[in-house]
């Protein structure tokens, strides 16, 4: 019994965020009399928040390293502008333009990383400068005007859905097949982990808990894909998101480099004296953030079907809020990719739910501010209680 209490106490932040997400979703589901979780709206929530999720993942890494990046909104806008210039003004093929844009993102990240990691300028200052610099460059590239429309192929990544090869009209069959495949993969992986645990003689959860967990998660995946399938299927951008979430979670939890990122944020001196190249780690985290900011910029531009000078304003704050609501600590060393995604979804559902209720943008901002504050305050009060 005490064991269970301990586990709950240790994981309250993780569970707390999921409970908050479910709670907020249910609340709006009731208030909006069922509109929130309609297939159309669920698809909308994913597409509306895709770029914040992408930025949130990158920001989680930056914050875990103990740094901050205020420039991501401006960088996203700048990349949107660059891609528009390449595709609309110079007629460069879509895939080439996307590759070039991501490369520019990486270079911008390297620029920030250089100043932070090798010259020791505080990241707050470097990226504040970057925020101004790249907003200015966006205006210069666009000449203060909006560039539109993008070629059709480009819009696919942010606005289109997987085609249905086996259409029967009502349910998107390919989506269901992918969903079931995901369930099978998930269960196979869980079985593999369980086998490993017994191989290494570790304490195992009971078979019942194991089964219950698998059934619950499989059911969630099934329901979620079903909801998507009865609307238009899986949007391409969801595939991108899933790949990023799974890839980055794996990277942060399971790889040597991921563990080095946590170590640098947790205690830079100790990490350095343990042979970790702390400057290099910091540098590459910023490069990564640059690439993800570029990707977010492309998705946003594609969704809007235009590159505008005001694109991406305040995105940096949404991304920081997502990571922090998701449990990342600004003092570094603590946080998860999954947490940042949940954080972004909490904010996204708040936005969407309040919009459905007809609450104005003014009140939406205010509520989001309070949610951010209470999430962090809850965490700190909890920690104080524990110590």
């Amino acid at each position: 019994m005490n064991q269970i209490k301990l586990i709950i106490n240790q994981n309250i932040r993780k569970f707390g965020m999921i409970i908050a997400l479910v709670g907020i979703a249910l609340l709006f589901q009731i208030i909006t009399s069922g509109i929130l979780l309609t297939p159309l709206n669920v698809t909308n929530i994913i597409m509306q928040n895709s770029y914040i999720i992408i930025l949130g993942i990158g920001m989680a890494l930056v914050i875990i390293t103990g740094e901050i990046d205020l420039s991501v909104g401006s960088v996203a806008a700048f990349i949107g502008a660059i891609s528009a210039m390449l595709m609309i003004n110079y007629n460069i093929p879509v895939l080439v333009a996307i590759a070039l844009s991501l490369l520019v993102g990486a270079i911008i990240g390297a620029w920030h990383g250089f100043w932070v990691a090798y010259v020791n300028v505080p990241a707050f200052i470097v990226t504040l400068a970057g925020m101004l610099l790249f907003r200015g460059l966006t205006l210069i590239v666009l000449g203060g005007k909006t560039l539109a429309p993008f070629p059709d192929g480009f819009r696919t990544i942010s606005s289109d859905f997987l085609p249905d090869y086996f259409s029967n009209g009502n349910v998107h069959l390919l989506t269901m097949i992918i969903g079931i495949a995901a369930i099978v993969l998930y269960i196979l992986n869980e079985c593999r982990l369980r086998k490993n645990e017994s191989k290494y003689n570790l304490n195992q959860t009971t078979f019942t808990t194991f089964m219950v967990k698998n059934i619950v998660i499989s059911a969630i995946i099934f329901i979620f894909t079903y909801i998507l399938a009865i609307y238009a299927g899986i949007p391409y951008v969801l595939l991108i998101l899933l790949a990023l979430i799974i890839g980055y979670s794996f990277f942060m939890n399971k790889t040597v480099n991921g563990r080095h990122i946590y170590a640098v944020g947790g205690n830079k001196s100790a990490a350095q004296l343990s042979g970790i190249k702390t400057r290099k780690v910091t540098f590459w985290v910023f490069v990564n953030m640059g690439v993800l900011a570029a990707l977010a910029g492309l998705v946003f531009a594609g969704r809007l079907n235009a590159a505008t000078p005001q694109a991406g304003e305040l995105f940096e704050l949404d991304a920081i809020a997502a990571a922090v609501i998701g449990g990342a600590s600004l003092s570094g060393g603590v946080g998860t990719v999954a947490g940042a995604v949940i954080g972004a979804l909490i904010m996204g559902i708040l936005n969407n739910g309040m919009s459905l209720m007809g609450v104005g943008i003014d009140w939406q901002q205010a509520v989001k501010g309070l949610v951010l504050l209470s999430a962090v305050a809850f965490d700190i009060i909890n920690k104080n209680k524990a110590s």
Binding site: N196, E197, K199, Y200, L202, K254, T255, V256, N257, R259, H260, Y262, A263, G266, N267, S269, A270, A271, Q272, L273, S274, G275, I276, K277, G333, V334, A386
Partner: protein, 512 residues
């Protein structure tokens, strides 16, 4: 009828899972210097936190009487109002403010919110004169030495009309003259009727100055001894502190010394910020397999700087000199190189440079050798658990689980985690910088056993320590360092505290 200025009765304080204080009683007579001693974790600091209101009423059980009045402090302000002032080990001064500003910080001499600086400075002048300081009240605290900073804290206490002054390890960071002066000051206070409680690890000091000593062990009062009796000596107090006779603090080992492993020649290191200041001056030293070599030196002699510069140039600029391993010259330009060549470095400051406090024990143990539990850069979590369990058992690390955050472990167990971390890199040369600093006697003994065991397995150990008995107790050979210069080399048989001290204070550079 009651001659006690302070009585703490049956104080019990529990933290989740631990009883930090268990029915502790403390009686302090008026105008005396009362020492409080005990191993780390015995409950000294907790008791003082209860007394000063850091742990407010209601979070503990038991009663506190001050001047025969029952007290119920809700916070520090309540206790300070009665004249109980605590000076913590970590000084609570603002380095960027002046002495005067610091003394009256939180107690500003103001009328209607406007500070009267003339009054503040005049009052501060009187106070710092009383504590024997010669600095100007306008000096910034960061510009005066640690010893002087301690005096600023005391001046601050005096400004609050202190009746009971509590000093937590006041001489830990001071040199001998400064300690001497501080103790004299306490004597002066005794004459003026100010009562002091002195928490100290330095039993010599305690014996010299205190009237009575109360010994805590494992959260319980063991006894209070009157030091007017001449029978009380250090051994008597230690016995009471550890609860047993400690004859073999330094475990016996039969050294099996092999070939020369490391040879360092003409090692010169400059200060990282002051490019003309030589910190290490042409040092020559060597290490053999299975040998424990000590480095003795006073504070500021360059001990840590020497070993850190050897460990992948982690300290200093413009480093010149040669390192050879097994007769071949090697390049060690960064920590990665050092680890690759089999070096390991256990820092003197484990919290700052050794551990990631919020991470689990197992993550800390594997940190310096993640590749050792990885397959193509993917960490195998099961092997990680195995490795951590292995060192937990081998080093006898006391903790509920290897998933415990290291911040929650005691100093001795934290140090074992750091040792485990470096042992997992399978080093050939272990550099240990003050490996037993801030660790209680029992854990020290265990650390010595681990060090001996490593040497018996053929590792070379280079150990820095400011405790000469420790160096004499476990080293085979000792170098002395003075002002960046190696001034002597002694075999264990030829060394004693006096010869070492003479060599450590041999200030050759001053004569040049």
């Amino acid at each position: 009828m009651n001659q006690f200025v302070l009585e703490m009765k049956n104080i019990t304080k529990e933290f989740p899972g631990v009883k930090a204080l268990d029915n502790v009683n403390l009686q302090v007579g008026k105008g005396e210097i009362h020492a409080l001693v005990g191993e780390n974790g015995a409950g000294k600091s907790t008791l003082m936190k209860v007394l000063s209101g850091v742990h407010p009423i209601g979070t503990y059980t038991g009663d506190i009487y001050f001047d025969s009045n029952k007290c119920s402090f809700k916070d520090i302000n309540d206790s300070e109002a009665l004249g109980i002032v605590i000076i913590h080990q970590e000084l609570a001064l603002v380095p960027e403010l002046s002495i005067a500003e610091n003394v009256y910080l939180g107690n500003e001499q103001a009328t209607k919110g406007i500070i009267d600086w003339a009054k503040t400075k005049k009052a501060t002048e009187k106070l710092i004169e009383a504590v024997g300081m010669k600095a100007s009240v306008n000096d910034l605290v960061k510009d005066v030495g640690v010893g002087q900073q301690q005096l600023v804290e005391i001046a601050k206490a005096l400004s609050k009309d202190v009746k009971l002054l509590i000093l937590d390890e006041p001489t830990a960071a001071l040199n001998e003259t400064e300690s001497e002066n501080l103790l004299k000051l306490l004597n002066t206070f005794r004459e003026q009727g100010i009562t002091s409680i002195l928490i100290s690890h330095k039993l010599k000091e305690v014996l010299k100055i205190a009237d009575n000593v109360t010994i805590l062990r494992d959260g319980q009062t063991i006894e209070t001894l009157s030091l007017q009796q001449t029978l009380i000596n250090e051994e008597r107090i230690i016995k009471s502190m550890v609860g047993r006779d400690l004859k073999n603090l330094y475990p016996i080992r039969k050294p099996i010394i092999g070939e020369k492993v490391i040879e360092i020649k003409d090692w010169t290191v400059y200060h990282p910020q002051l490019p003309d200041k030589k910190i290490i001056n042409g040092a020559n030293l060597h290490l053999r397999a299975g040998e424990i070599v000590g480095i003795a030196g006073l504070m500021g002699a360059g001990r840590t700087e020497l070993v850190m510069s050897i460990f992948g140039k982690s300290y200093g600029k413009r480093i010149t000199g040669k390192i050879s391993k097994n007769g071949k010259e090697i390049t060690v330009n960064n920590v990665g190189d050092a680890i690759h060549h089999g070096f390991a470095y256990v820092s003197e400051d484990r919290k700052e440079y050794g551990l990631i406090l919020q991470d689990s024990v197992k993550k800390n143990i594997t940190l310096a050798n993640l590749k050792g539990i990885s397959n193509k850069l993917v960490v195998n979590p099961y092997e990680e658990v195995e490795v951590a369990q292995r060192y937990k058992e081998q080093l006898n690390i006391k903790m509920p689980s290897i998933d415990q955050q290291v911040v929650n472990l005691s100093g001795g167990n934290q140090q074992k985690v750091v040792l485990g971390k470096w042992m997992f890199t399978e080093p050939e040369i272990l550099i240990l910088d003050e490996p037993t600093r801030g660790i209680d006697v029992g854990a020290k003994n265990e650390i010595y056993k681990i060090i001996n065991d490593l040497a018996n397995h053929g590792k070379s150990i280079l150990m820095v320590s400011s405790e000469l008995p420790e160096l004499l107790g476990i080293c085979d050979r000792i170098y002395t360092l003075s002002d960046g210069l190696i001034t002597g080399e002694f075999l264990k048989e030829d060394a004693n505290q006096e010869t070492l001290m003479a060599s450590m204070t041999d200030n050759r550079r001053a004569h040049v």
